[in-house]
């Protein structure tokens, strides 16, 4: 009887295998297809696999005049500046939202969600018009400002959650033995909130690295960034260079997915948005 039941439950692996196999094909297939294109020299219809493999496209992408290095540099500079500005704004705001009694606290928290909760395309179009008037269009500070407004919701919400997960008695203890409020914040509160703030920095960094629409209207064509390079090479039909650019954008995202739980602990996560 148990042998029969075992056989029966083993049979269940047939439908499971088919469903998981299809899922794996549709999830990893596009990724694998892209990886193939990054090392393709020659590939045309109706061949299932590339006819020649090689790294000549990589050499082209990273050649001094290839444009990719400039885009990569711009993307990294913009992302790092965006993180710096967003955290400089979010750390005081998050601390105030977590610790000090604020009127309309819920409304303030929701206000940071607005840029994510409305279709933002026309907003970027109009920001580009404003920036054009004041000379910020096509400059790195202009792109950084757009990315900050978009990433601020992660920065502020996660920073608020990180600060409220800290036991207030620890701060009180530091105050009791004579530390001033700034010293307490610097030596007690900030180090304790560091993992959560790190998580919010990573979120903002990725959001900036991947952002296309704002960079398209405010940055292009003067400030070249990786997503813009991907778009122009793809619409030019160069699948190799487009795939290599896509891979450069993909790696940080996948690494982040693997490590996010290390920085974003459950005690912080459960407080996000509250």
């Amino acid at each position: 009887m148990t042998a029969l039941r075992n056989n029966f439950s083993a049979l269940w692996w047939v439908p499971r295998g088919i469903v998981f196999g299809l899922m794996a094909f549709f999830i990893f297939g596009p990724l694998f297809n892209m990886l193939l294109w990054t090392v393709t020299e020659k590939w045309y219809f109706p061949h299932t696999f590339p006819l020649e493999y090689g790294f000549s496209s990589w050499a082209k992408v990273f050649a001094p005049r290839g444009g990719a290095l400039e885009s990569l540099g711009n993307s990294l500079v913009v992302a790092l500046l965006t993180v710096a500005v967003a955290l400089a704004l979010a750390i005081p705001a998050g601390y105030a939202l977590a610790r000090l009694k604020l009127p309309l606290r819920g409304v303030i928290l929701l206000a940071f969600l607005i840029p994510q909760a409305f279709p933002n395309l026309t907003v970027y179009v109009n920001i580009a018009r404003i920036f054009y008037e004041i000379g910020l269009n096509g400059t790195i500070p202009g792109v950084v400002l757009v990315h900050v407004s978009h990433g601020l919701v992660y920065a502020v919400w996660i920073a608020t959650a990180a600060f409220s997960a800290i036991d207030p008695e620890l701060e009180q203890a530091a105050r009791n033995i004579g530390a001033g409020p700034l010293r307490t914040f610097r030596d007690v509160t900030l180090p304790l909130a560091a993992p959560g703030l790190m998580a919010s920095a990573i979120f903002v960094f990725l959001e900036s690295l991947d952002e296309f629409t704002g960079s398209f209207f405010v940055g292009a064509p003067d400030v070249n960034m990786l997503p813009l390079l991907l778009y122009t090479t793809a619409s030019g039909g160069n699948y190799q260079i487009a795939s290599i650019t896509a891979l450069l954008l993909l790696v940080p995202s996948l690494v982040f997915m693997a490590v996010v739980e290390r920085f974003l602990k459950a005690d912080v996560l459960s407080r996000v948005g509250q």
């Binding site: 297809n33 193939l36 219809f45 704004l89 005081p92 105030a96 179009v125 900050v148 601020l152």
Partner: protein, 273 residues
């Protein structure tokens, strides 16, 4: 009182960024939609509906269809993670479904351009398996490609929210229903889904708005007519410098997105009274 003032002072710079860089341009776009050559009027909307009615319908159909598919896939994934009794199968699924979550939309567009094209891996695999001949292959880079890209990218996010909500449900009612002989499918749709309905709807509304504002996917996959409103807005601005019609199109997508949120609010208010 001074603590309150200090708190407001600390929040103010961050709020100012949102006000100046999002709310002000949003107001500008609403006002600009009604402005034709410096005077107020409906001109932009007349032109918009003349030229883009087809694209408005196309956008609504594509985004709604994607939302429905994302909802079904998320319920299926969350349901299996909650009710599946084979731990190995559950952990395989948990490993599989999350991959696309953090992949940027522009990269998703490029992935689908290669995967779904006439000579893409999907067609090639079907040909190698003998399911079709190379001459029968067609490119899926039209509305189907956009829907595929949206479902591929957004399902993990909604499924993560839904599975989290399902995991925190009280197991007793589920066990009781199972003991009384209810099938798993019935337990899923009659006990579990109603309890996570709020989380599911919030996830789907966020996805709906996100898909309404993605520019890169329609540009990469299908920029010919009919296309999505985002591609039209970009075209209107870049090719004609026509901010009036672009703003009108933007206002229409804003109305579409907020009407979804409004329907949700009405339903949830009705349920409470």
């Amino acid at each position: 009182m001074s603590r309150r003032l200090l708190g407001l002072l600390l929040v103010l710079p961050a709020l100012a960024v949102i006000a100046l860089l999002f709310i002000l341009p949003l107001i500008m776009s609403v006002v600009g939609a009604f402005q034709v050559d410096g005077t107020f009027g409906w001109g932009n909307f007349v032109k918009t509906f003349d030229l883009y009615t087809k694209d408005i319908v196309f956008t609504v159909v594509i985004v709604s269809l994607s939302t429905v598919l994302i909802g079904l896939a998320s319920i299926a994934i969350g349901g299996y993670l909650t009710l599946g009794n084979n731990p190995v199968a559950v952990s395989i699924l948990r490993f599989l479904y999350r991959w696309p979550m953090f992949i940027p939309f522009i990269v998703v567009g490029q992935l689908m351009r290669t995967f779904l094209s006439k000579n893409g891996m999907m067609n090639n695999t079907a040909v190698s398996l003998g399911l079709m001949t190379p001459l029968d292959t067609v490119s899926f880079l039209d509305w189907r490609g956009i829907v595929f890209a949206f479902v591929w990218k957004q399902t993990p996010f909604v499924a993560l929210l839904v599975a989290g909500a399902m995991a925190s449900l009280n197991r007793d009612t589920i066990e009781a229903a199972r003991n009384l002989g209810a099938s798993k499918l019935r337990v899923l749709f009659e006990i579990i889904v109603p309890q996570v309905a709020v989380t599911l709807t919030v996830g789907l509304i966020l996805s709906f708005v996100t898909m309404m504002s993605v520019l890169s996917v329609p540009l990469m996959i299908n920029a010919q007519t009919p296309t999505m409103l985002t591609a039209d807005i970009a075209f209107r601005v870049n090719a004609y410098g026509d901010y009036g019609v672009a703003n009108a199109l933007g206002l229409i997508s804003l109305v579409l997105a907020s009407s979804v949120a409004w329907i949700y609010l009405r339903i949830s208010l009705k349920e409470r009274t």
